[in-house]
Amino acid sequence: MYTFSNKLKISAIIFMVLGALGIGYGFLTTPSNVDQVKEMMQHENTHENHSVAENTHVEGSNVENHENAESNETATEDAHFIHAFHSLQNRPYAAVFIAMFFFFMLALGTLAFYAIQYASQAGWSIVLFRVMEGITAYLLPGSLFILAFLILMAANGHYYYVWMNPDLYNIHSEHYDKILMGKSWWLNVPFWMIRTFIYLLGWNFYRYYSKKNSLAQDTATDLAPYKRNFKASVFFLIFFIVTESLMSWDWLMSLTPHWQSSLFGWYVFSTMFVSGITVIAMVTIYLRAKGFLPKVNDSHLHDLAKFMFGFSIFWTYLWFSQFMLIWYANMPEETAYFMPRLLGTYQLLFIGMLIPNFIFPILVLMNSDYKRIPWFIITTGIIILLGHYVDVFVIISPATVGNHWIIGIPEIASVLFFLGLFIYVVFSALAKQSLEVKNNPFLKESEHYHY
């Protein structure tokens, strides 16, 4: 039976404290009015020759800046400053949300993987079930954080989600937006909030129910809990693939409310899935190295590494597919999404994340033998996770922070905070019960699994 080691617990708490301090610093150093922004940017401009002012033309969330195209110069400049002010104000929120969503999606991806194991009646992975259940323990706290964040965003009148601005739906306002008016049957705050509730409730319910059954199977004399889990997993997967897609539209795609991509749900899913599997592999290796998973052999690692390899390629496929179709068709309303990413200030991250997310895994994990070497998987895993953090960053930041992005204290602190929380929750959950699965009908196959 695993006990949460003090060393790990203390580092998790230190991460959380440092993270909380950094997040607080991020909010406190945000400019509180436009004049401060002017001062800041004029200060910068003396160094950087207008680069900031020019770049604000290339903007992901162009809901607000279509108005300034033909107005005179001072008005344009003021609009720039107001825009920059919004972006800077958004930055600490975005930093928190990126890290929050990233760690939430690790748990959610793991949950999907876990459900697939049950629904497909996979034989190899049974000995890893407790590890997966430990990781998905983060789903509940993660959900609560997301829920709190989204409620706050809907309530505090800050328009982190630009479509929440009521002016956009007021026909007498200069900000009136016909496109968003057309979408408002779906994209309105109450319905959006209800949907968020439904997603989180559904996912957490499955997590709770399957964990309960999985533990019940350990002491059961028949296969009833296992069968219940099989059925629940099938229905969960149907529910998940729909709600995951809707979730990605609601929480992420709606940050650029004019833009849409039918591939977006899959794209977010691939990021989520590959990161989730990577975390399973890393936690498994950690626990196995400590001797708590005697039944996990090299073949199990090999399979996890194969999934990391395969889904890294899957992610690249979707990354490229979404990009290429839009690039090729070259329609303004679609390319708006890629302007800041491909040509704007996010170019380095957008193209560069192919290295950790594609080139590195494909070269390092291609060789069959390397998939069995723990430190190889850990190293690749860390790089893949960093790469997918950047991916989430590039999904969220252009629409919220705009061109003033930087990975500084708020961003790193948010990652530290949620990393600490993740470690704390996951390893406390792992320590709560034996890591050995019993009575699962496929257990023998899993124990003798040999590739």
Binding site: F320, F323, M324, W327, Y328, A329, N330, M366, S368
Partner: protein, 172 residues
């Protein structure tokens, strides 16, 4: 004294696998094993080296990728540049995304086809090739082990009999 080859027929894959392990343990030289289907663990028991076909596959894939890059550049940029989809830049770099599917396909195409051809060549297989297996029953429900020995043939035959061989004969 020249070496002789003994052919032993088995009718069960588990017995065969055990016999092969025993032969290996007794330091006999197994020349070849004929089976109607792949027997799990046999290649390890016989002591075959790991295949290097994966390496050739990687090399072929890289060749395919390079070929695709060269080909698309020659066709679409050098030889006959056209304005497709409002992208008349005629530069490889700026039109590269459109070539990626072709690069991918040719990588797979080269890797797969050349790997199969390599496999055939390495296995000495070609059209109209006459079958090499000495006994037609090895394509149905029997297994054959060919063991070569330089000294006592009777001793080897005895050894094979004890390990479950149904039939034993000397290779002509």
């Amino acid at each position: 004294m020249s070496s002789k080859t003994v052919q032993a027929i088995f009718d069960d894959d588990d017995v065969l696998l055990k016999a092969v392990k025993e032969l290996k343990a007794a330091n006999y030289d197994i020349e070849e094993v004929f089976t109607p289907f792949p027997v799990h663990g046999l290649e390890k028991a016989v002591g075959l080296k790991n295949t290097r076909i994966a390496i050739t596959s990687f090399i072929y894939g890289v060749i395919g990728l390079l070929f695709a890059i060269w080909m698309m550049n020659y066709m679409m940029v050098v030889d006959w540049p056209q304005n497709i989809g409002g992208k008349p830049s005629f530069s490889f770099r700026e039109n590269m995304p459109a070539f990626v599917p072709i690069m991918f396909e040719l990588t797979v195409f080269f890797a797969a086809h050349l790997m199969v051809i390599t496999f055939y060549m390495r296995s000495k297989l070609w059209p109209f090739k006459k079958a090499e297996n000495p006994d037609v029953r090895t394509t149905d429900d029997h297994f054959m082990v060919e063991v070569s020995t330089e000294d006592n043939v009777e001793k080897l035959e005895e050894f094979l009999k004890n390990n479950g061989a149904k039939e034993i004969k000397l290779k002509a």
